[in-house]
């Protein structure tokens, strides 16, 4: 092998190592990768730029946050900030308790919150889809939830789950995503729905055409959000 060929092989190996390192970093924070992919697919399928921008913007912020925490961990002499409970470097009291000021509020399913959610759904459901009042009424709780999630400290870790169980759930969601993608690609175009290959959006359009349908869907969306905030 000539020195030029050895140089080429060396450069290829370095390039492969760099790609591998980048891939490992992305896989260690798969949420960032998923958000970027979802944002790109949403934009390509004709969604408003703001929807994809939300996902990609959150991914970028999480990426910067991860870099900041890694630098902080290195400065403190930690090998890696790792994953799992306690890696958030939140202030703690002696004895391990979390400072009261940083305890995240939980949304409880009390009569007040349930009635409030139903009233919200009934009122906002009367707005036309894709109108500015509807956009604001959905965007405000959405952004508030993301901000609340950002500021919430890591909660006590749940028991470790079986890898096989996690893989089973992941398979269901991946298959759902692929099925949806397949139907999206079988449409006449990415922005024109198809009766023969309906996506979830196309299937829900008739339901969301009425006030009642929109209100029911909004109530379910809110309930799902409250369920997630409780995790």
């Amino acid at each position: 092998m000539t020195s030029h060929e050895r140089s080429l092989v060396g450069r290829s190996l370095l390039r492969a190592a760099a790609i591998g390192s980048l891939f490992r970093k992305a896989v260690r924070e798969p949420v960032v990768l998923v958000l970027v992919l979802a944002g790109v697919v949403d934009a390509l399928s004709g969604g408003p730029w703001s929807h994809g921008a939300l996902l990609v913007g959150v991914a970028i912020l999480l990426g910067f946050d991860r870099l900041r925490r890694r630098r902080r961990a290195r400065a403190l002499g930690l090998a890696d900030e790792g994953e799992g409970p306690g890696h958030e470097l939140e202030p703690v009291r002696a004895g391990g308790g979390v400072a009261a000021a940083h305890v995240a509020p939980r949304i409880r399913f009390t009569p007040v919150t349930v009635i409030g959610g139903v009233l919200y759904s009934a009122v906002v459901g009367s707005f036309a889809r894709f109108s500015w009042p509807m956009t604001l009424a959905v965007a405000v709780p959405g952004v508030a939830a993301v901000v609340a999630a950002w500021n919430a400290p890591a909660r006590p870790g749940p028991p470790r789950i079986e890898p096989a169980g996690a893989v089973a759930w992941a398979t269901v969601f991946i298959v759902l995503g692929l099925w949806e993608l397949a139907n999206l690609l079988l449409q006449p175009s990415l922005t024109v729905g198809s009766n023969a290959h309906p996506t979830i959006s196309v299937l829900t359009d008739p339901m969301l055409a009425s006030h009642l349908g929109r209100s029911v869907f909004l109530a379910l969306w809110l309930a799902f959000g409250a369920f997630l905030m409780e995790r």
């Binding site: 958000l35 703001s50 999480l62 946050d65 023969a196 969306w221």
Partner: protein, 66 residues
């Protein structure tokens, strides 16, 4: 069977699989976590919490907003 029927059957099969898994998890059969336990595990980190809530917000925007 029409293409639409096949598509709908696919969605129903996937949703049904999820429901069955949730029921089996509740009853303690097999070593499958419930959906809630899975979400708790994912959301124990900032990236998981924020990512999941961003996905939830996107759902609302996708179906209702400009």
């Amino acid at each position: 069977m029409s293409s639409r029927a096949v598509t709908l059957a696919g969605y129903l099969l996937i949703a049904g699989t999820g429901v069955v898994m949730q029921l089996l998890a509740w009853r303690g059969h097999l070593r499958i976590p419930t959906f809630g336990q899975l979400m708790s595990r994912i959301m124990r980190t900032r990236a998981g919490r924020v990512g999941v809530m961003a996905g939830w917000a996107w759902l609302g925007l996708h179906f209702f907003a400009r």
